[in-house]
């Protein structure tokens, strides 16, 4: 097990130790060994270098989850660059914005998406080189074929060694931004490897483990799946987007693939408990169930633990800016009378936490305040947003930079933190961070919409439900079907409101701003 300072070097160490072991499985399609994945990502490194990618550059990955996508991110890291995974299911304009925003030098894109993305990028005046990968190829053959074709044009020479520094960026993950555009969270190799090492210490994975890869690669949960798995020479089982939310198929896949470490948002586990028919399958291999990204309603967690009592259940908490920063192992069985969610737990051993009041002073244990985190797992900042980066941190007198999470918590006597809410308009939905302002900005793009205000409400089934309050320029308002379709074409699925409420004009405060409080009271 490698303790190298860079994510890709840890993978390389696993590949050298167990070249024949299966690294990644695409269920029902194919797989790739560590040795083959190492060779394929070496070839991509060489191609990227020939295309001018250097240490410190960015490479966009616009691929559905596949062996090709895993090879793409490893090849990018080997080339000394940072990978920028973009949701291939989101509107192409959003993807193009992200890739243009961080000025990627190359985009590795699936053939079916290439034209649309290329047109959107051209519209922004961006012309990164593209490596186009044929879809519906398994086991890395899509990328291999693309590299073969490129080699026929001009052979890529083997790249000489690249010398990264631990502070070099490893990846940039874009999250919902309050201004209406996503913002890029920059994480370095040091940020990532300290998190990965904490996972090693806490979950003790081995080469015999089979990790689920349920989260999309543009979601921070994927960092644990991919990089902890590959560090330990274990097997990564890719769960395709098409079955990711399909509870019956997912339940079958976890059993058939003998997943031993499962990690996803609670909403997926709640779906599994309700609709997965779990009693039909054999889950004897499953030893750890990890969840993060949102509050897990106890009712659904209890149902799951009763159906599957053997694994260890751990609640992991943390924003993309720090990855996991606190954790809590749920004691089983869950008492029937418990209805309040479990705490987010104690701070991880590689980080420090404190609770601040609005003036930035530490509050007494038991008092409410904003959770702040410091340590080597904390991000480098937001891409090209120095002011937002500065606002995100609080600098203590001793010079320590504390990242302010925006989450309101309190700390109990046993040093466990309990999540109480947010200090801003960000909510978590299906594990994703959603800035309500980004949904509003999306709705305002509809030609007939005059005003848009979006509020989130607690929902027993979905955790959070989102309501959009709208008014129109025109007497004939868009139909519900039209507005839902517009949202589906312009926003990621997890941002589409559950309800749309029309007003002739939205209620206003005395200063003529939209009165959110009165809107809240109408529901």
């Amino acid at each position: 097990m490698s303790t190298a300072a860079y994510l890709h070097e840890r993978f390389i160490a696993s590949a050298r130790q167990s070249a024949q072991a299966v690294a990644v499985v695409e269920p029902g399609k194919g797989s790739i060994t560590y040795g083959e994945l190492d060779s394929l990502s070496d070839r991509l490194r060489d191609r990227l270098t020939l295309l001018g990618v250097c240490r410190g550059d960015r490479v966009g990955i616009f691929l559905r989850k596949s062996v090709d996508a895993v090879a793409a991110l490893l090849g990018t890291l080997k080339a000394g660059a940072a990978y920028v995974p973009v949701d291939p299911g989101a509107p192409a304009a959003r993807g193009a914005y992200i890739l243009h925003n961080c000025a990627v030098k190359v985009v590795i894109v699936e053939a079916a998406l290439a034209d649309k993305l290329g047109a959107e990028l051209a519209g922004l005046g961006a012309m990164p080189a593209m490596i186009v990968v044929a879809e519906e190829r398994a086991g890395g053959s899509g990328l291999r074929t693309a590299l073969d074709a490129a080699d026929e044009q001009a052979m890529a020479p083997t790249t000489l060694s690249i010398h990264n520094q631990p502070q070099d960026l490893a990846y940039i993950l874009y999250t919902s931004g309050s201004t209406g555009q996503p913002k890029g969270v920059m994480l370095s190799h040091e940020n990532a490897v300290t998190f990965v090492d904490w996972c090693s210490e806490t979950f003790a994975p081995t080469a015999a483990d089979r990790f689920s890869s349920h989260a999309p690669f543009h979601f921070d949960l994927s960092i644990l799946d991919i990089h902890v798995c590959l560090k330990h020479g274990a097997t990564l089982v890719l769960v395709g987007e098409e079955i990711g939310k399909d509870a019956p198929r997912l339940a079958q896949l976890i059993a058939d693939e003998r997943i031993s470490i499962w990690y996803s948002a609670p909403s997926i586990l709640a779906l599994l408990a309700q609709f997965g028919n779990l009693a039909r399958h054999d889950y004897s291999a499953l030893r750890q169930v990890l969840f993060a990204g949102e509050v897990f309603p106890v009712k659904h967690l209890r149902a799951l633990c009763e159906l599957l009592p053997k694994p260890r259940y751990c609640n992991l908490y943390g924003p993309t800016e720090t990855n996991v920063c606190t954790w809590y192992e749920v004691p089983l069985p869950i008492p029937a009378e418990r209805s309040t969610p479990y705490p987010i737990g104690k701070v991880c051993s590689h980080l420090r936490a404190c609770v601040l009041n609005e003036e930035g002073a530490t509050v007494a244990r038991g008092s409410e305040g904003e959770l702040a985190i410091s340590g080597p797992g904390v991000m480098q900042g937001y891409w090209a947003l120095p002011e937002q980066t500065a606002r995100g941190f609080f600098n203590a007198d001793d010079g320590t930079a504390w990242y302010r999470t925006g989450d309101i918590v309190s700390e109990a006597e046993d040093a466990c933190y309990t999540y109480l809410g947010r200090r801003d308009r960000m909510v978590k939905r299906r594990g994703y961070r959603v800035e309500l302002g980004e949904i509003e900005a999306g709705l305002y793009r509809h030609a007939k919409i005059k005003e848009a205000a979006v509020l989130a409400f607690a929902d027993e089934q979905a955790g959070v439900s989102i309501t959009a309050f709208l008014s129109s320029h025109e007497e004939k308002r868009p139909s519900l079907i039209e507005i839902k379709r517009f949202c589906a074409e312009n926003l990621p699925l997890y941002m589409i409101p559950d309800r749309f409420v029309w007003f002739d004009s939205l209620p206003k405060t005395s200063t003529d701003k939209i009165d959110y409080q009165r809107l809240k009271e109408t529901c």
């Binding site: 939310k245 198929r249 779906l271 609709f275 089934q461 079907i481 839902k484 379709r485 949202c487």
Partner: protein, 86 residues
């Protein structure tokens, strides 16, 4: 037969997922999943409704956009499992 079945499924979708919408707006080809009307939970609710009402079982791979993206394909799938549609 098909008309009755289509109407019953349409009524369920209107009531559960499009409350207040003009029924004429929902046609047999309106995209349901790709059009943002059915999310994953809504799709499962629709499947449970149809399984119960028409005594059919959907295979896990059938619960997707390819099979359930509009009323026409949903009705076709139900009829392939229960030709009487009752």
């Amino acid at each position: 037969m098909t008309d009755t079945l289509t109407q019953a499924i349409k009524d369920f979708i209107m009531e559960e997922f499009l409350p207040g919408e003009d029924p004429d707006e929902l046609t047999t080809t309106t995209p349901l999943i790709s059009g943002g009307i059915l999310d994953s939970i809504a799709t499962l609710k629709l499947v449970m409704f149809m399984e119960e009402k028409y005594s059919v079982n959907f295979e896990p791979h059938e619960v997707d956009k390819e099979h359930l993206d509009n009323l026409e394909s949903i009705v076709k799938l139900v009829l392939s499992k229960n030709p009487t549609g009752a």
